[in-house]
Structures are given as structure tokens and as C-alpha cells.
């Protein structure tokens, strides 16, 4: 379908971008465009002006701190994360980014766009929650940080509200992570995905595609039965749609949670 006519702005600085987003009610930030352009074509979103962030070098790049903390600019593409030597400090990041869709999408799509659009089938929302990430948000009033598990509010809704911009995703040091997903076709949309991390005590298991926001489950241990039981006890109410019935998604959530935790355990040892 054709796009409606829309105004286009390409700010030269993050300050300008935030100002544009704050000034206009109907403004939306354009990152890689892999979600926004599609929802605009489907008329699910009709911004008056798109604020293109692609010229903003300050939103790009990955920094590795002395304590192993990764600071990832919101406009860093999946391909850049896959190829980054710094990002290898937390290997799961590159591994999951390499699974997202196809080469063209990975070259355009960004970590910031992925989490800010919060399509429930996206890969990165459950991952950043499992890894205990922190989101830095800039508005006209200054900067604030939000823990990843409080960032996702609903389908296409996050803590980065109107007039605000996600600038950085901070990922703490760690390595005992796993991810398991089942897409439609090898490079299609996920039906269910699960991220798990064993760093920092009890397992953090986060299930995607089953609710408007990633669902954090805290099993008592990393044993298969404990993980399966915790996911079952979470009482998931996944959608029933053209891709899969709800019952099948519930089944997958358990299977994939066990697989994600097993992968994390392998990496821990």
C-alpha cells in the first residue's frame, strides 16, 4: 500500500530531534524504518511528521566500559552489533541480532527502533529485560534512565513517551545467557521467543510474543522442571492468530524457555 503524504525532518543533533518531537504532537522518530514504515503503510500509524534519526552520529556506536558494561547507541544497527568486537563482551547480543529477519532488515534495523516499537514479536525486548538492561531517555527536560523491565508498557508503547527519545541501551557485564525462538519460516516473524540469563542469582526468563509486553518469569532454579513449571504457572494468555493458536504458543513458551535456560547454563560453565 502507498504511504500517505507525510512531512519529513532530518535534525542535525539529538537536541534538535527532541525539540522536534516535543513541538509536534503528530511527530514520530524514524530509526531504521523496518517497523514504522510498515505500520504507516498499513495505516496503523499516521504521523504528521517523521523525524529521521539517521544523521545522528552521537546515537551510534558501542562502548565497552572497564567493568564490562556496554553502552549501545540507540541508532546502532543489528549488523553493527553482530560485527562489533566490543559487543562480544556479551555474546548473546550479536547472536540474537544475527537471527533477526534477513540481511536487508539487519542492515537497516536498529536496537533503539526494535525496543521502542515494541512489536510483541520483536527479538530484543525480551532480551534486554533478561539481561537487566537500562534505557536512557532524553526529553526537553533532560535525561532519565529506566530499567528495561519497566520500559515496555504496551504494544508499540514504551516509557519513551511523546517528545522523548531513547538514546542509549546499557547492558551490564555477564555471559550466562540463552535465547530460543521459533519463527515462521527460517527468517520470519517469531511465534514465541524466550531470552534467559543466569547472571545475578536466580534465572531471569523472559517470554516474548505472548503478551503486549515481554513476560518476566523467575523460576526457583535453572532445572528443566523448575523452568517449565514457572512458565506454566505464569498463566500466559498468548494471542490466537493466523500464525498459531494460543494453546500452541503456550506449549512453545515452555519448550523454548527450557532451551534458553539450558543454553545459558552451557555458557555459564
Amino acid at each position: 500500500m502507498l504511504l500517505r503524504e507525510v512531512e519529513y525532518a532530518r535534525p542535525a543533533s539529538v537536541g534538535d530531534a527532541v525539540r522536534l518531537l516535543a513541538e509536534r504532537d503528530g511527530a514520530r522518530a524514524l530509526a531504521g524504518g523496518q517497523t514504522l514504515v510498515n505500520v504507516m503503510k498499513a495505516r496503523a500509524a499516521s504521523p504528521d511528521v517523521v523525524v529521521d534519526l539517521n544523521g545522528l552520529e552521537e546515537l551510534k556506536g558501542i562502548e565497552l566500559g572497564p567493568d564490562g558494561t556496554l553502552e549501545i547507541g540507540a541508532m546502532t544497527t543489528y549488523t553493527e552489533i553482530v560485527e562489533s568486537a566490543e559487543a562480544r563482551a556479551r555474546p548473546i547480543l550479536g547472536e540474537v541480532c544475527a537471527q533477526i529477519a534477513d540481511v536487508q532488515v539487519r542492515n537497516r534495523g536498529t536496537i533503539g527502533g526494535n525496543v521502542c516499537s515494541n512489536d510483541p514479536t520483536n527479538h530484543l525486548p525480551p532480551l534486554v529485560v533478561a539481561l537487566g538492561g537500562t534505557m536512557t531517555i532524553r526529553g526537553t527536560g533532560g535525561e532519565r534512565t529506566v530499567p528495561a523491565e519497566e520500559f515496555f508498557l504496551g504494544v508499540y508503547m514504551t516509557a519513551a513517551g511523546p517528545g522523548e527519545l531513547l538514546t542509549t541501551v546499557t547492558i551490564p557485564a555477564g555471559k550466562a545467557d540463552g535465547f530460543a525462538s521459533l519463527p515462521i519460516g527460517r527468517d520470519g516473524t517469531c511465534i514465541v521467543n524466550v531470552a534467559a540469563s543466569l547472571d545475578g542469582g536466580a534465572p531471569r526468563v523472559v517470554v516474548g510474543c505472548v503478551d503486549a509486553v515481554p513476560v518476566l518469569v523467575r523460576p526457583e532454579s535453572a532445572e528443566d522442571d523448575a523452568v517449565r513449571g514457572a512458565v506454566r504457572a505464569a498463566g500466559l494468555q498468548p494471542p490466537d492468530d493466523v500464525h498459531a493458536p494460543a494453546e500452541y504458543r503456550r506449549h512453545l513458551a515452555e519448550v523454548l524457555a527450557v532451551r534458553a535456560v539450558r543454553a545459558a547454563k552451557e555458557r555459564a560453565s
Binding site: M1, D102, D187, T189, V242, A244, V255
Partner: protein, 752 residues
């Protein structure tokens, strides 16, 4: 001399008797095996044009002053229009013409399926046309749709008389059997999804309608549109130089063409009418769903004693009943066969031909049933198929013009033998297995089809014929055939196609008929040119014609003389050598069919139900291969499409409203390059000695036919699960696995 004969003409398993004037096909076939040009792997002569975007598709046609049409389509499966405000549409900005249900036969006020055309508008832009239609504000009386094919059969809502085939004595065959297997199979509604959606640009030049369209059937569209507008047939000029796929859905003019033509007539301006992707996925045709209740009976040695089937095809509101029972009637030797086929008329979008219609669906059922039978008989599935090989056509005992299915089985053995090693590679939740299936299909083509060739003083040849290229590499194959016969390099032959005003009649690009129908006509035209060149050379060099030949771009004589072709044709200055050729008749009293076998290897994740096809070996027998490179592309395309059919593609309809739920490519999942397995293609490449001067059959359809059954059989081999419904969804596969485990538990618990 031209001969008037009464002949049987076949397109995709539909036979008609017709009169036909045929030229004698007096040329001997070339000896088997690769020739200088024919039989050599050849890159597409138009590959660079296509890859760089220089090739002009209908979607690229821009004419001065061109308007854009949009069609108001029914949002209900069955309804009656109560109110429609076309005046408001007419008054909208940019609107140049509006037509409604009273203005054109393809528009209706009582739509019978979702997407049925109601009104149409031509405006300065597509956006303006769409915006204008929103003002039509239709009000509907919504009526209850008929959606269930079994219910339609009960109510006798059928598009054709039930088709029955009964040979031998089915009941006696059953009684003579040691083992009888019965099962119900289902196949889903599938969408063609060509890259280029259905579309036309229409433009009146005086009384002539010039029509650019994305079609597989230039001449059929010409006649259909001319009849609709009361024009002489050549009052419509149809142009299609390049088209972005059709798979059977572009055999007819379509409502969009008639809408564009009428709006162009009313406005005096060119009008484009192009389906959007959503319209494409609703109204452009589909492979109809089927329900197949099948029976196979055999003696303990595997000899089939009876085959039976009841087939229900959910055709939609319009269409025809494809030969779903065809494979059961023809693939194996069996004296006692009873089939009945019903074509249910429903309030769903009409079906269209789709790459081997009927046989794709019927082969899935039959070839899965054969494996279930093999399991019961504890016979090797490949051996079971060999033991029931049919030496002649089972429906009327006609001999085949050629059949090398046993050779296909022989070559399949290497791939089939891998199953032990493949199964051994199972690990964790991933179980691996191998399955196979056989293929039979038409694909012999037939007359009429014509080609002209002109050669100028530069010795270059131009093949002129008004055929279309559906995307199978037609220009390349025709250039190879002409170059081979003329003894000139491939680069010295141009092929001009795609315009009904510039060339003679050619066959529809459907039913795998392009190469077997057009190839012999092109060779015949080239032979006509060659004869004339040799006559001229004989006179010029004072030699007898019989000692002369054309080779490597030269006229050569038996005594070693050699003159470049230009030396001969150069004598002519502006004069040209004109040759013409026609497709000769098919042999009478014989059956022309294509054959093959495929072996699929799969991995099944028994915890999630995910299936990965890891390797498919395809062995097909389609007579002489003109272009091995193009042929392997055909095989790969067919298999990839079949993998979608087997595992992921399905048009879902709302069971209450009959509305299509899968209108986007996100909802309707076509395989991508990441889903493509290793594909091994082997072609038997033996010319059919009874078929034309070429000995070639078509290959467009055969490769898609056995793949889904081979995959289903491989899944059974890997896991023991019986999958009898397409697509093989992951959740249904988990249920089938559970059922298989349950059966095993019961079997284990039963007393010995």
C-alpha cells in the same frame, strides 16, 4: 501441404476436440544428447535486461495522460447492494469517470464472494481514485454465505456434474486384496503470489484497443476482450513483453482489464488498473482446497487390486473442476479403479489454474496413501511403486509416446539409499527421515503455434512470434532452437515476442506447453530459412543443395568448401529471407505424459513441530532438454513453491463470514531463500521419438507435483506421525506425533 484434422487438444488435463489445420512435421529429430547450442547450459538471453531493470513489465508502462483506476470490491462474501452513492464519487477531486454495476458485466450489485467487483473509478492518481471510492458509502444487506464444501455437495451446489471414472470391478478388487488402507487427506487453499500483481493498461487508438497486460495468454485475452466489446479480434492488440509470474492465475483477461478498457473508452485516455497485493490475495484466483477420501487395496506382494477415491474440490463461486483424481487413475497399473469428483460452488473467491491443477492435490493424497500401504505391507516404498509401474495409460490403454519412469526410479535409488545415514543423524529433539513420491502429468503441448524467422543481409536471424514469456526463459530456449537449426551462434539470433499485432499465434504459457508447442514451430521456421539459404548458395556457388549445410555461421559443402553466411545473405542487400513454421500434430492414439520421482530429506523437531526440508533430489523425464540451466531453475522453483505448499502457505477464511484473513505476505507465509534446501536436479533427457521434430515435453509443472507427498512421507519416516493434511502445521504435527506415540503404547500393551 496443410492438412485438416480433428484432434484432441489438452491444456492442464482439460481435453477438447477441435478441428485444426496442421502442416506436416517432416523434420527428423536431432540425435539424442547435447548439440552445439541445444542441450547446452545457457544463461538467459534477457538476463541482464531483467536484472538491471531495463525490461519493461506492465507495471512499468507509463503512457502520456494515463489515469489510474481503483475498484470498489465487496467486503462481504454474499450481499445485496441497498445503496451506493456514485454521484459523490463522480464529484470527488481528480475523478474522470465512474462505472457501476449497470455498466459492465464484471461489476455486480449482488456480490457472491469477498472482493467481487461492484464499481470502479478512473482518476488522475491512484490515491485520488481510492479516496473517491471511499465516498461511495455502500449499504449492504448481508446474506448468509455457503462456505462448507461438504455442505455444498449435499445441497448440490456444484459447478460441474460430478465426474465419475469406473474401470474394472472395484469391489472385486477390494475382495481380492490382502491389505486395504483407507484415509482422508486434505489440501488447503493456496495463493499464487506472482511478484507482479494482475494488471493492465488500456488505451484506445481510434477503434483499436491497445492493451498492455501481465498475462500468460496474449491470444486468449485478445479474443475475450474483443468479444466483450464487440470488436473484431484484431481490434484488440495485446502487448506483454515481460511479465512477473502467473503460475496459472493469468490465463484470462480478468475484471481489471475490462474495467481499464471501459474507463479508457469513456475518458479517451489511457487507464491503468492494477490489483494491490491485498486484492491479489483475495480475487486473483487460488488453488482450490480439496478433501480426498481414498482407498488402496493390494495383495501381499504389493500388487494393487483396487484404488478408489471420493474427491471434493472447494472451487469457490466460479471455476472448473481440476483433474484431482488423475494421478489415481493414471500413475499406477491397477485394473479396478473407481473415482468420483465433486466441484463445490461456494461464496468464496473463484479458483484459477495453479501449476499442475488437480494433480498437485491428488498426488499428495495418493502418494501418502501408497506409503501407508507400503508400511502395512512391510514393503519398501520405492519397490512398491516399481511393482505397480503402468506400461500404458490406465484410463484407455493407450501407449505412451515415451515413458522413462523406471529410469527415474533407478536414478532415485542413490538418493533413497541415503535414508539409513540420514536417520542415523537424528539427535536430541531433531529426528531425520527420507521420503519419496512419483509424478505423472501432461505437458506435451500441441498445435496450433506458429513462428516466423527473417534473416537479413547481415546473416542475423530474428524469430518473430506473438508468444509471452511467463518467466521460464522462453526467449532463450527459442533462440537456442533457431540457432541450432540455422547453424549460427546464439548471439546471432534475436527473439521478438509479446505483441499480438507483431507475429503469429502462439500457445498459452500454461500446462507446461510452451517449449513442446512453440519449440517445434521455431525449428520448423528455421528449417524453412535454412532450406532457402542453401538453395541460394547452391545457385551462387554452382553446387547441389544436398552437399551443402549450415555450420558455425558458415555455408559448408561436402567437399570442404566454406563461405560465411553473410557472403550468401549479403547478396540480397535489402531483401530478406523469410521462413515460417508451424507446430505439427501430436501422434494419434498415443498418450503424451511427463514423469518423475523425488526424494526428500527432512529434520523434524519433535518438541516444537518445526520441519526443515534439508535436501530434495528431483529426477524428471520430460524428453529432450533444450536448456539444462533453465531446466534446473524450473525444478528449483517448483520445489521451493511446493515446500511452501507443504509447510507454511494457507489462505485462511473466516469460517462464519467467508472473509479472507490472510491478505498480506506476513499473514500468508511464502518460503524465503533461508528456507531453501539443497536441491539436486537430474533430467533423463531422452527425446520422445513420437513427439514433434524436437522430442521435448514441458517442465514448468512436473517438479511441483510430488514434493509435498515426499516431504510428508519423510516426516512419517522420521517420526512415525501420519500427516494427512496440508499445510503440515507445527501444532497439527505435534498432535500427529502424540497420536503416533499413543498408537505405539497401545501396540506395545497389546498381547502378542
Amino acid at each position: 501441404m496443410a492438412r485438416l484434422i480433428r484432434t484432441e487438444k489438452e491444456v492442464e488435463g482439460r481435453f477438447t476436440e477441435q478441428w485444426i489445420v496442421v502442416e506436416e512435421d517432416a523434420l527428423d529429430q536431432w540425435p539424442a544428447g547435447p548439440r552445439t547450442v541445444v542441450g547446452q547450459p545457457t544463461r538467459r538471453v534477457d538476463g541482464v535486461e531483467r536484472a538491471t531493470g531495463a525490461a519493461v513489465y506492465t507495471a512499468d508502462v507509463q503512457l502520456p495522460g494515463m489515469l489510474h483506476a481503483a475498484v470498489l470490491r465487496s467486503p462481504h462474501a454474499r450481499a445485496r447492494l441497498v445503496r451506493l452513492d456514485l454521484d459523490a464519487v463522480r464529484a470527488a477531486p481528480g475523478v474522470r469517470a465512474v462505472i457501476g454495476p449497470d455498466d459492465l458485466d464484471v461489476l455486480t450489485s449482488e456480490p457472491c464472494y469477498e472482493g467481487h467487483g461492484v464499481a470502479a473509478v478512473a482518476a488522475d492518481s491512484f490515491e485520488a481514485a481510492r479516496a473517491a471510492l471511499e465516498l461511495a458509502a455502500p449499504e449492504w444487506e448481508v446474506l448468509e454465505p455457503l462456505l462448507d464444501p461438504e455442505e455444498a455437495v449435499r445441497r448440490e451446489s456444484l459447478l460441474a456434474e460430478p465426474r465419475r471414472h469406473d474401470r474394472g470391478d472395484f469391489d472385486r478388487g477390494l475382495a481380492a486384496a490382502d491389505v486395504v488402507v483407507q484415509a482422508e487427506y486434505r489440501t488447503q487453499t493456496l495463493l499464487h503470489n506472482p511478484l507482479e500483481t494482475h494488471q493492465s493498461v488500456c488505451h484506445w487508438e481510434g477503434d483499436t484497443l491497445v492493451l498492455y497486460t501481465s498475462t500468460q495468454n496474449i491470444w486468449g485475452v485478445r479474443d475475450e476482450v474483443a468479444d466483450a466489446f464487440g470488436l473484431p479480434h484484431d481490434g484488440v492488440r495485446v502487448i506483454c513483453r515481460f511479465m512477473g509470474g502467473g503460475f496459472g492465475a493469468k490465463n484470462d483477461a480478468g475484471d481489471y482489464t475490462l474495467v481499464a478498457a471501459e474507463l479508457a473508452r469513456r475518458t479517451g485516455r489511457p487507464v491503468r488498473c492494477a490489483l494491490t497485493r491485498r486484492e491479489e490475495n483475495v480475487v486473483s484466483g487460488n488453488r482450490n482446497a480439496t478433501i480426498q477420501r481414498l482407498t488402496a487395496a493390494a495383495r501381499s506382494d504389493g500388487t494393487l487390486t483396487a484404488l478408489g477415491g471420493e474427491f471434493v474440490s472447494a472451487l469457490g463461486w466460479d471455476g472448473w473442476l481440476g483433474p484431482t483424481a488423475g494421478p489415481m487413475q493414471m500413475l499406477y497399473a491397477c485394473a479396478n479403479v473407481r473415482t468420483v469428483e465433486y466441484g463445490a460452488k461456494l461464496n468464496l473467491p473463484p479458483m484459477a489454474a495453479f501449476r499442475a491443477p488437480g494433480f498437485v492435490e491428488g498426488t499428495f493424497g495418493l502418494e501418502c496413501l501408497l506409503d501407508e500401504l507400503a508400511a502395512r505391507l512391510e514393503l519398501d516404498p520405492l519397490e512398491l511403486r516399481r511393482r505397480n509401474h503402468a506400461d500404458s495409460d490406465g484410463t484407455d490403454d493407450r501407449p505412451y509416446t515415451s515413458k522413462n519412469l523406471m529410469e527415474c526410479y533407478r536414478r532415485a535409488e542413490t538418493h533413497w539409499e541415503r535414508r539409513h545415514e540420514v536417520r542415523a543423524r537424528s539427535e536430541g529433539p531433531w529426528k531425520r527421515g527420507v521420503g519419496m513420491a512419483s509424478q505423472i502429468w501432461y505437458g506435451g503441448g500441441g498445435p496450433p503455434s506458429y513462428a516466423w524467422i527473417r534473416v537479413g543481409s547481415d546473416g542475423r536471424a530474428v524469430v518473430v512470434t506473438a508468444m509471452q514469456d511467463i518467466g521460464t526463459g522462453t526467449r532463450t530456449a527459442m533462440a537456442q532452437i533457431a540457432a541450432e537449426e540455422l547453424g549460427v551462434p546464439l548471439e546471432h539470433v534475436r527473439v521478438e515476442i509479446g505483441d499480438s499485432a507483431r507475429g503469429p499465434y502462439s500457445v498459452i504459457s500454461g500446462g507446461s506447453s510452451t517449449t513442446p508447442s512453440m519449440g517445434p514451430a521455431v525449428r520448423s521456421a528455421a528449417a524453412d530459412v535454412k532450406r532457402q539459404i542453401l538453395e541460394i548458395a547452391a545457385q551462387r556457388f554452382h553446387l547441389e543443395e544436398r552437399v551443402l549445410d549450415l555450420k558455425g555461421g558458415n555455408v559448408v559443402s561436402a567437399d570442404g568448401g566454406s563461405w560465411s553466411l553473410e557472403e550468401v545473405t549479403g547478396l540480397l542487400e535489402d531483401a530478406q529471407i523469410l521462413g515460417k513454421g508451424a507446430r505439427g500434430p501430436n501422434p494419434t492414439g498415443m498418450r503424451v505424459m511427463t514423469f518423475g520421482a523425488q526424494v526428500a530429506e527432512v529434520a523434524v523437531d519433535v518438541e516444537t513441530g518445526e520441519v526443515r526440508v534439508e535436501r530434495v533430489a528431483a529426477i524428471h523425464d520430460v524428453g529432450r532438454i533444450v536448456n539444462p540451466l533453465g531446466a534446473s531453475s524450473q525444478v528449483e522453483g517448483g520445489i521451493i513453491q511446493a515446500i511452501g505448499h507443504a509447510l507454511s502457505e494457507e489462505r485462511l477464511d473466516d469460517p462464519a463470514t467467508g472473509l479472507v484473513l490472510t491478505q498480506t505476505l506476513d499473514a500468508y507465509k511464502v518460503p524465503t531463500i533461508a528456507d531453501v534446501p539443497e536441491i539436486v536436479t537430474e533430467l533423463v533427457d531422452v527425446p520422445d521419438e513420437h513427439l514433434t521434430n524436437l522430442g521435448s515435453k514441458g517442465l514448468g509443472e512436473p517438479p511441483i507435483i510430488p514434493t509435498a507427498a515426499a516431504i510428508a512421507n519423510a516426516i512419517r519416516d522420521a517420526t512415525g506421525a501420519d500427516v494427512r493434511s496440508l499445510p503440515i502445521t507445527r501444532e497439527e504435527l505435534l498432535h500427529a506425533l502424540e497420536a503416533a506415540r499413543e498408537q505405539e503404547r497401545r501396540g506395545a500393551a497389546a498381547p502378542a
